[in-house]
Amino acid sequence: MSEPAVEVHNLAKSFRKSSGAARSGGAGARPAARGLFRRKPRAAPVKVLDVPSLDVRPGEIFGVLGPNGSGKSTLIRIISTLLLPDEGQVRVFGRDVVREPLAVQRMLNRVSADAAFFRKLSAMENLIHTARLYGLAQREGAARAREILSRLDLSREKMDAEMHELSRGMQQKVALARAFLTSPILMLLDEPTTGLDLKSKREVQTFILEIRRDHGATVLLTTHDMVEAEALCDRIAVIDEGRIRACGSAAELKIAAREKVAAPSGAEPTLEAAFLALTGRTMEDAEQEKENPA
């Protein structure tokens, strides 16, 4: 039973940043020659993820909290077999993501901030396609899809409308339904509420709690929203520049932060303050820096 849902060991991932307008301008930067074989200045690889160890326990909602560009999606993609790690191992319920991708793929599904669908197909058609890919029969898939979508308050009419006619919030619900449809024991939610209006955000959050309560699925959720992390997650890993700075429950993180810097007397520490103490900067600073690198 104590086998971790996700087990990360010495994981590292680097990317070559070919665009990197801000960081180029060095000696070799001449205007790109045109044509088929124009040579791009080949950028050095930048390490975007460096995680010595991380365990997600079965049945918990585990949060990865960090600013934009901190490596959250990269971690999620490695777990979901969409990216290969440069170094280290990642196991999902004991199965290695590189060596046994099919076994891992069967156990998980993922929702990301941009809900991607075949826009010209309806929600139902999209979901039935997914159901078939995961080996469900057409009827079973359709029935389950309908059930989940109505639980998410999608009317019949909307289920059969082409995806591009649905609002952002509704699309995100369909994305949740698509992931949930395949009965994953590990749900990867990559900023599932980013860009949603308040009402949709609430509904999505409620659904996440329901999934865990009714189905005992493990949820790995990334977010840059402190309130969301605190409200939903049993444990939170604070990530910044690809490194995990701290890991624990929201309460534990606050205590850790208090020990690190003396909290202003009397003030109840917030997760915000904890983030500042643990990473040495505020979330806003971290995001600003990402946008205008020095």
């Binding site: 077999t81 290969l84 440069d86 396609h129 078939r132 990559d190």
Partner: protein, 274 residues
Amino acid sequence: MIAAVVKAKATYAFAERQFLLTKRYWAWEAVYLLYSLSMTLSIGFLGAGMQQLTGQQIDSGKIIVYLLTGSLLWGYLSALFWDVSNIISWERWEGTIEYTFMAPVARWTHIVGVCSFSIVYGMLRTAVLLALVTVFFHLDMSRANLPVAFAVLLTASFSFVGLGTVVAVLPLLSPEKGAQMTGIVEGVLLLVSGVYYDISVLPGWMQWISKLSPATYTLKGMRGALLEGKSLSNSLDTLIPLAVMGVVLIPLGLAVFGQGERYCKRTGRLKRSG
């Protein structure tokens, strides 16, 4: 057993999806058919005009069918290559590529599913075009062996799927230009295969290459069936090489595609936003 059923379902899922998308974009499909028809007709007129051009009495019906075979194959091949290369480019455009690539589906199941729809649909389109031009030019098809012509095309399709899978790697590696490259591959393939002429008119080195091209045997087999009414047993000289090439090219295509996929997953080229 269960694994086989799951695979069959997944294969069908891709075929069905292609069908639904084609249906949803039916107006564009109609436009595309019109385009193919005009290309085919203009090649037909090239044959019809041969008499005026040379001032000789020639069997223009035969020339038209000869040329049309090339034109029809070109249309069929480009639709098939387009669909195969779209396995990547379309899904990248829709943004669904990551969801498809993280589904527990072997890549060959994926490719077979997409191609099986493409082959069936392509055959139908070819049959419709052939019927239209036959009426248009009052061609005499009484001697033609149509089932054998389509059997040759079907057998050749396996080789084309294999080649197409190799070509499908291009959009995986270059999102901007990859899809256009597939057109170039197709053009060169048909050039050396005698699309509108007998390969004996090609320079020696090109003839040598043409022996390795499945399109060469396809054209020869289809022309034999359409012009001389060759039977199945008389067409084995083209069917057998085509079958052998299919057996070689499909695994080769999958291997190359697998390498391309791994490269993309290592360098983060599948998709990076989000």
